[in-house]
């Protein structure tokens, strides 16, 4: 396979478990450069575990995680993050007891060759609301603003692969639309995005491909339109 055609992320027969309970049962997925892949599925399908395995936060029970053609099963989460794999976890992943500015500065600490002020300015340009809130504790922001901050922190690290877990959780539709607008912008700029969502509709307009995860297995992969038609049976068990 040529380097250009080689997927940036590849999961081969990935298995993971919590003690005796097997959550992922041989997941195969690929994510190309600049592609947006939506992983959908009902609650408990193993979506978050899949992302944690990819990010190196949860141990593999079997299979391979391959980044840019290299098997990285033994790479730590830190090494994967340093290479450019950025996970924005469910529940926003901001430091609640730090201000917005401090949160951004922490992210700027691992940004490649970018000055803190430049990272901050880029974040404020992308999310102007954060500029007004820069002295406010992150934990006291609204849910949408916290998610904006999480996204801004992720982007500050100049990721090659952005992994988003339930970006829309608990947010108003208008905010979700705005956040996914930013995700679409990142994808246009060439960042590969793997996004997990329980509520499929919001992500379908942004995704290039979608995968349906049911009970730890990929039930279907295809264009968003094709997968959308299979969602109700997967969610309702029909």
């Amino acid at each position: 396979m040529s380097r250009a055609a080689q997927p940036l992320v590849e999961l081969r027969g990935v298995r993971a478990a919590y003690g005796p309970i097997e959550v992922l049962r041989g997941v195969d997925l690929t994510l190309g450069a600049g592609e947006v892949l939506a992983v959908l599925g009902p609650n408990g399908a193993g979506k978050t575990t899949l992302l944690n395995v990819l990010a190196g936060l949860h141990p593999l029970a079997g299979g391979d995680v391959i980044l840019a053609g290299r098997r990285v099963n033994a790479a730590s989460a830190t090494a994967r993050a340093r290479a450019g794999l950025c996970l924005i976890p469910e529940g926003r992943g901001v430091f609640p007891n730090l201000t917005v500015r401090e949160n951004l500065r922490m992210a700027a600490g691992i940004a490649r060759g970018r000055r803190r002020a430049a990272v901050e300015e880029a974040a404020y340009d992308r999310f102007p609301k954060l500029r007004d809130r820069r002295r406010q504790l992150a934990g006291t922001l609204s849910g949408g603003e916290q998610q904006m901050l999480a996204l801004a922190r992720g982007l500050a690290t100049d990721p090659a692969v952005l992994v988003l877990d339930e970006l829309s959780m608990g947010l108003a539709p208008l905010v979700v639309e705005q956040l996914y607008g930013q995700v679409a912008g990142m994808a246009r700029a060439g960042v590969s995005v793997l996004v997990v969502e329980q509520f499929a509709r919001v992500v379908m307009g942004v995704a290039d491909r979608a995968a349906l995860l049911v009970q730890g297995r990929v039930a279907a992969v295809g264009l968003p339109g094709e997968i959308e038609s299979k969602l109700s049976s997967a969610y309702l068990g029909g």
Binding site: V72, G139, V191
Partner: protein
């Protein structure tokens, strides 16, 4: 953000340059093993020093025994420190994660009590 293809190439290069290690041979385990070795070797040196010093009337050899004894003490102290460091590292990581989580919950409580996320805290 850097140029797309440039960033992708950088990502490929960074992944190719990753140092992969077997988690089973992690530093923590190595430190614990070294610590245990030090803890075992220390008393052995001490016992050896006792036998050396009691087996001779030569003051030079007795001084050697003192050196051996002190070496044993050093091994035991350093070994204990390494053992505690290695053994506690994992526990402390979880402790830190728990601390962050509790702070998050506390901040949520404060935010909920204030009833308005837009109000500012007097910070810095």
């Amino acid at each position: 953000m850097t140029e797309t293809s440039e960033r992708v190439e950088q990502f490929r290069a960074d992944v190719a340059g990753m140092k992969l290690r077997d988690p089973a041979t992690g530093l923590d385990r190595l430190l614990v093993k070294l610590g245990v070795a030090g803890l075992v070797a220390g008393p052995c040196f001490g016992v050896a020093a006792w036998f050396i010093s009691h087996g001779t009337r030569n003051p030079l050899q007795q001084r050697d025994a003192i050196v051996v004894g002190l070496l044993g003490l050093t091994f035991a102290v350093v070994g204990a420190a390494l053992f505690v460091k290695g053994a506690l590292a994992r526990f402390l990581r979880f402790w830190m994660a728990r601390l962050v989580y509790e702070q998050q919950v506390q901040a949520d409580r404060v935010a909920a009590a204030r009833g308005n996320g837009d109000r500012r805290y007097p910070v810095g």
